[in-house]
Symmetry: C2
């Protein structure tokens, strides 16, 4: 991550990416507020102002880091989906898949609270929910991962069309809320077991309520 001492040329090579990665490291430990531009340049072995060749200001760096963190979240979600064994029944599988998406999202929140906050706490428009820089290594953004799971739910005949529309909202809100409350909010002190329980109950509620 740091290539401060070993830089032969005047040019860095890929400073933009280096700054984002430094930002990710800082966010990992303290959320978006811990992302400090000067420190990022320090870690990249570059003068503070060099950052301004790649980002208009700190806010833009923040957004780039947030986008990267969203990609990592997408990975966690897809991992959870892949780990979900199939039952042979398409309807059941589709429902399990939606659950796995939620579980993956929350697992990411708990495993990487700082990155989670960086990903989903920094202002973000729905219009950009498909931007490539928010995608994980499989090429999908968190929103896409959820949307496709819901599409599958619809395709399997579980979710009628009129309730498919806007279903992202309901599912995402619930799960996101639990994540936030468990991180910053009143649920901080909860044990892992309690959080697991809350997660399953919440997913059940969403499954029934969609």
């Amino acid at each position: 991550m740091t290539d401060a001492p070993n830089r032969s040329s005047y040019r860095h090579g890929d400073l933009r990416q280096a700054l984002i990665e430094a930002g990710l490291d800082m966010a990992r430990q303290g959320g978006p507020d811990a992302i400090v531009l000067r420190e990022a340049t320090r870690r990249a072995g570059v003068s503070p102002n060099a950052a301004y060749r790649h980002f208009a200001d700190r806010q833009e760096l923040l957004e780039a880091v947030s986008a990267s963190a969203q990609g990592l979240a997408a990975d966690a979600m897809e991992d959870a989906v892949e780990a979900q064994p199939g039952t042979g029944d398409p309807a059941v599988d589709a429902r399990l898949r939606v659950g796995a998406v939620g579980r993956g999202y929350l697992a990411f929140a708990r495993r990487e609270p700082g990155l989670f906050r960086a990903a989903f706490t920094v202002p973000n428009d729905l219009s950009e929910a498909f931007d490539a820089d928010k995608a994980g290594y499989r090429g999908r953004t968190p929103f896409q991962v959820l949307a496709e799971a819901l599409d599958a739910l619809h395709a399997a005949g579980v979710l009628p069309a009129e309730r498919r529309q806007g279903a992202e909202l309901l599912a995402w809100s619930s799960v996101h809320g639990l994540g936030m409350l468990a991180l910053d909010g009143p649920l901080r002190g909860l044990t892992d077991e309690m959080l697991d329980g809350a997660t399953e109950r919440l997913l059940l509620m969403v499954d029934r309520g969609l």
Copy 2:
């Protein structure tokens, strides 16, 4: 809010409260990040260091402002409950009351996004969910308002005991998530009508899923 010019005595009178109120004003316009200690002292007509007689550091001021903002949220929630007309049927009323709590919460989020973020984004323990400084003018904290509505749901026979426990979690998560996504998240651009629709659908899901 500002009593900068008119202070006759060396003593301020109630500097602590003045700083909190200045903090609330700043938070109203930019969320918790916009709360700056020096600016608060400036508005209170006092030197920067005076703040340290009342708060150990900026973080403590932040927490005090957050607590006050939670009180305002509690007010909004109770207002919504009071505005809810009764139907005569206790079971229906209890369910409507829970819905009103959620609607009040979200109305507050949309009316005062900065204060909402200050209230529920600043780290906060469940163990302190009943602290008096988080209460609104009716003396209840947001958590209490929700808990009592759920108690009423149980008392009305709608919510069996085994599902009453931890129900705060489910209800709060869903509603909180929608609030956050609508403020900072991908749902920022949604029109009022769309948000209203999402709110009602979400509340329906919670009502069915609790």
